[in-house]
Amino acid sequence: MATHDMADAANLLVIDRLTKRFDSGAGLFAPRRSMTAVRDVSLGVSRGSVVGVVGESGCGKSTLARLVLRLLEPTQGTVHFDGVDLGKLAPRDLRRARRRMQMVFQDPYSSLDPRFTIEQVVGEPFAVQGEALPPGRIAELLDQVGLAGEIARSYPHQLSGGQRQRVGVARALALRPDLLVLDEPTASLDVSIQAQIIKLLQDLKQDLGLTYLFISHDLGLVRYFCDRIIVMYLGAVVEELPSPSTEPRHPYTRALLDSTFSPDPGKRRHLASLTGEIPSAFNLPKGCAFAARCSRASSRCLSERPTLTTHASGHRAACFHPIVADEKEPS
């Protein structure tokens, strides 16, 4: 337990047993259905680190991002930012706290108000926080994200996707935050632009001492960019890798890894290691959510839900039959 406390002191962000349930269809004659988008997620993000959250559609990674920033109210669990429980803050204090944690969104097209000029977009944080805009700050911010100052009077539709995403980053940086939650910031960009933005984020982190929570569906990118990796499947964390090069223990992480296409024709391999598709989050099975697609599944997996167990320092996996080191899949 002592190690836990020490970790907390170093952690800028601590998420504890966070759960979010959505209810829907409460119509006059329709039955109510509920779906757990995020189930019992705990994790810590230490200062100056990049933690990656990776998973496919419906795994709850975007919901998690919004819970962290309190854009959604959790059903259960807490988020501590720099030691303060965000759930206990009064609205006024929460607004102040938002200065220190910001988000960059996936879609650079819909994340900027089409009626705002770029300088209005980047200046909005000051207006919202009721603060005078320091002279020259907009030019400084635009410069920081590699945009020319002339762009300030343009409208978003006059910019390319990459430029818009830079504007989104500048807006997030405006109030000098400590934490950036990056929700698939490059998923809707071209490959050549994606690499640019990643490079920019890396430089900014270095220069400004930022901490990142990086959400992505691309394990290759996450392994390149992040210090620690959280793998989610259908709302729950299935594995936590202490470093990008750690060999996965969970069969799902393994499958994700095997599903990425290496850009090297010399290393061709049999790709389809996984059958079936992600089931609906509305009626989750009783046992392990991945069991139906897993080649290692036993009867226990169908009836009992595995919890995260520690395999090595910082390496945890939620699996009854984890892959052990010497039985790696042939590559």
Binding site: V191, I193, S262
Partner: protein, 322 residues
């Protein structure tokens, strides 16, 4: 002689020229990867091959699409229809929207065999179920009767592939067949599609923006940039020694195992839009090796062993590592 020869093909909408002098060929049993970012014209090339340009208001302005020695650009709509779905099949990007939501999926596959092979309804039906089974769809007879909204994304894309196979085509054009799918499903579908194509000895034009997919599945690669062909080569030589600086940079944009942080830099600038294509070599504003000639004149395609490159200063094998 390839099965499909795209020869100096240009395509325009109104006064805009979207594709300029695209040239490549594919033979039976071969998978060609057509790679490019947004605005490169890769989807347009696919539509041009299938003769579907009029649907989006575009037209072929020059060049030819020769399929089995017939120039498809010279055929009227009626004769073109004898090729479409029969000898040339098409797979679109998003399986979610590719199927008619008001019709059971099986019937949507049937129609191809009934129309082109003249099969009676019941024969077409059992053939459809057979194809669905080959595509590893469990309980194909049940799936046959279902509507698209009842199927998952991967399942729908299998049905689309079944539609492509139903006419027993010689060539399949697949436009980003897995982009809309989840990573793990993507891998399944790509594997399924490429292995079927290889088993049956079909030609496949696989359009994608993903260099990883190309490296894993294709035999040859054509790289498009801003409506022009940048480079065309065999897959191994292309990845080992890309001749066009754009290809080189594109390969370097993908994070690889064990790559050092910060080594990924991307390509400066942005992908030009059709209305603002730069003069000369269209890649020159973003190219590290550009010289004044690059801005002034369009580079002609020069032959490479097993391919071609359109660059004033193509990289040789050593430059890649230098």
């Amino acid at each position: 002689m390839g099965l499909l020869e795209v020869d100096r093909l240009s395509v325009g909408i109104g006064r805009l020229t979207l594709l300029e002098e695209i040239t490549f060929e594919v033979d039976r049993g071969e998978i060609l990867g057509l790679v490019g970012e947004s605005g490169s014209g890769k989807s347009l090339t696919a539509l041009a091959i299938a003769g579907l340009l009029p649907l989006i208001g575009a037209r072929v302005t020059a060049g030819a699409v020769r399929f089995d020695d017939t120039d498809l650009t010279r055929l009227d709509e009626y004769r073109l229809r004898k090729f479409r779905g029969r000898r040339i099949a098409f797979i679109t990007q998003n399986p979610m929207t590719a199927l008619d939501p008001l019709q059971p999926v099986g019937e949507q596959v049937d129609v191809v065999a009934r129309l082109h092979l003249g099969l009676p309804a019941d024969v077409a039906r059992s053939r459809t179920i057979e194809i669905l089974t080959q595509l590893r769809i469990p309980e194909a007879a049940t799936i046959y009767r279902q509507y698209p909204h009842q199927l998952s994304g991967g399942m729908k894309q299998r049905v689309v592939i079944a539609m492509a196979l139903a006419g027993e085509p010689d060539l399949i054009v697949a436009d980003e067949p897995t982009t809309a799918l989840d990573v793990t499903v993507q891998a399944q579908i790509i594997h399924l599609l490429t292995s079927l194509v290889r088993e049956r000895g079909l030609a496949l034009v696989l359009i994608t923006h993903d260099m990883g997919v190309v490296a894993q599945c294709c035999d040859r690669v054509a790289v498009l940039y801003a409506g022009r062909l940048a480079e065309q080569q065999g897959v191994r030589s292309l990845f080992a020694a890309p001749a066009h600086p754009y290809t080189h940079a594109l390969i370097d944009c993908i994070p690889k195992d064990g790559m050092a942080r910060g080594s990924l830099t991307g390509i400066a600038g942005s992908v030009p839009s059709v209305a603002h294509f730069p003069s000369g070599c269209r890649f020159h504003p973003r190219c590290i090796g550009r010289q004044s000639v690059c801005e002034a004149s369009v580079p002609a395609a020069t032959a490479l062993p097993g391919g071609a490159v359109a660059c004033h200063f193509p990289l040789n094998g050593d430059a890649r590592h230098g």
